[in-house]
Symmetry: C2
DNA sequence: TGTTTTATATAAGATCAATTTATGATAACC
DNA sequence: GGTTATCATAAATTGATCTTATATAAAACA
């Protein structure tokens, strides 16, 4: 099995065969070791060799090294075969809440041994987290372009304007940006992809939005709007339930629909770990429609079952 | 400290310095490893290198190997410095009882970490135990010469004849072998050094001893003689107490005193382990007189204190 | 007892792996 | 924008390891 083990079979020639080398090579190796240690590990008697006491002691301990070497090989195999590994994934709170569960569950189903570390922040923060090697992949909007970051869009999400149910504009057939600019706006924080698109929209229309408040917390925004503190632009998916339950009204914008591209982002010209590669590959296979709440319905049960195995979402 | 550790310092050049090799050597090593594993362990960004997730995992496990390698070095050092090791020592029951305690105690005092395995048997059996590698050193009488065994005499013990205190010959001024040959003799077993000398003695005198019984057990012989079952030849040292206490009588042999050489025996042309070498060296330093019961008196206390540390006498 | 077989040691030459030297590319620093 | 620091690469060198061939010695056998 290993040099020592073979030699221990009280036969250098046999050891040589097992190691696919010649007998003099074994003799030389052992001689070298003995000289290096200034100790004798084998004694010869007749045509047999025996381990000395020192040899036995050294052998016993040396075995552990070979054990670990074998273990290391297993680890390398496991790394190749996605049996061990970590996927460090960045995303936004909103995506984590509305799109990620399905993606992660699908990934986890296919690679149940890979640990998943999910980090949240604004799209921009997550873009930088890639550059800082904090995350390897991010599911975010392109809040800012960066020459070293590759964005692969995989889903186009509609951004809508929400208002309190009793809002005067809610009854109108269409609302202009000019009208919206007068309303107090609960805006997503700096670095948000949605915010970027919204600001672009106002700028293009020559309007300046009346930003009442900024926050990264989508749930908080919904609460404020519901209480009548203002209106807000949010991804449709995130307010679906509240709209259906008539807790929030959707203001129909006069201008054409506003969309937000959700992308997988990762560093250009940088090696991707096997888990990261596998994750991106899975995203390629998932049809965008499956990501929405509609698609999730039938998969809810599965997700709940698989959730807490080695799925270290932190 | 080790290749990986150094490389982990996010700097191949630094690693190379620590390893006393050049930077391209480090690069080549890592490239080789990565290619062999079909994995990427380092990623470069700017002028720094970072461990990938896979690199971190492999590194964590590889450290254990280097830990063990360091431990192995310590073991080799300890073997050289007699910090660990086993002394496999053969001797006879009688010597174990009367001479060995002092020798072992002296050895143990000088090399407290060496374990001692004491095996007992007749002198001849112990001679063969050397040839079978069961023991490395033996403290025995030369019961039989052997071309491969080196005997180094270090003590000359007097052999005396003991008889029951009321034995008719006990009152005589001197007893001839002829007279002794008529007495029932409790003889030491085959392979005994004493037996060999006694038989030689009778043979030289043209007499045939009247052997009543053979046994290897010296204490048993003393019991039998005390009970009046016969006379026996034994090493003086072994019957000192009983003679002083007048439980046994000593028959004065007419012929010149009979002596038995106690030797250290070990294999010629065979490497001796450091513990065995150290033991023989200590025997060289001990004056024969110290070995007897007389010499032991003052050392009794010390022996008793030191006895049960890692002194595995089996 | 001598001959054959089996096993290790040794020496010289060949092979292969690892290292160095020299140089190029690239990003950070001033 | 030039300089510095760092890693990559290629070719040459070195050194270690292996092989081939042979010697030696003990066990097996006849």
């Amino acid at each position: 099995m290993n040099p020592f083990h073979a030699a221990k079979s009280q036969n250098f020639t046999q050891a040589a065969k097992e190691l696919f080398i010649t007998q003099p090579a074994v003799s030389a190796q052992i001689k070298g070791l003995e000289e290096a240690c200034n100790l004798v590990f084998f004694k010869k008697r007749g045509r047999r060799v025996y381990l000395t006491e020192e040899g036995k002691i050294l052998f016993k301990h040396a075995c552990k090294i070979f054990e670990y070497a074998r273990e290391l090989e297993n680890i390398v195999n496991d790394l190749q075969q996605l049996k061990i590994g970590v996927l460090r994934l960045g995303t936004t709170k909103t995506y984590a809440r509305y799109f990620m569960p399905f993606m992660i569950s699908t990934f986890h189903e296919k690679h149940p041994d890979i640990k998943i570390q999910l980090n949240e922040g604004s799209s921009l923060e997550m873009t930088y987290s890639l550059l800082e090697f904090k995350n390897e992949v991010a599911v975010i909007a392109k809040a800012e372009d960066h020459p070293e970051v590759q964005f692969i869009p995989f889903s186009r999400e509609e951004v809508i304007v929400i208002a309190p149910v009793n809002h005067p504009l809610a009854v109108k057939k269409s609302v202009s940006l000019q009208e919206l600019a007068r309303e107090p706006l609960i805006m997503k924080e700096a670095g948000s992809g949605t915010r970027k698109r919204v600001l672009e929209l106002f700028a293009k229309a020559g309007q300046t939005p009346n930003i009442l408040m900024e926050t990264g917390n989508t749930e908080f925004i919904k609460q404020l709007v519901q209480r009548g503190d203002g209106v807000a632009f949010l991804v449709k998916e995130a307010v679906l339930t509240e709209v259906q339950e008539k807790k929030l009204a959707v203001l129909p914008i006069r201008e054409k629909q506003l969309f937000l591209d959700v992308s997988v982002a990762y560093l250009k010209n940088q090696h991707l770990s096997p888990p990261a590669k596998a994750f991106i590959q899975i995203l390629d296979q998932i049809k965008p429609g499956d990501l929405t709440l509609k698609g999730i319905g039938s998969l809810m049960a599965k997700m709940l079952v698989n959730r807490n195995k080695n799925l270290n979402v932190s």
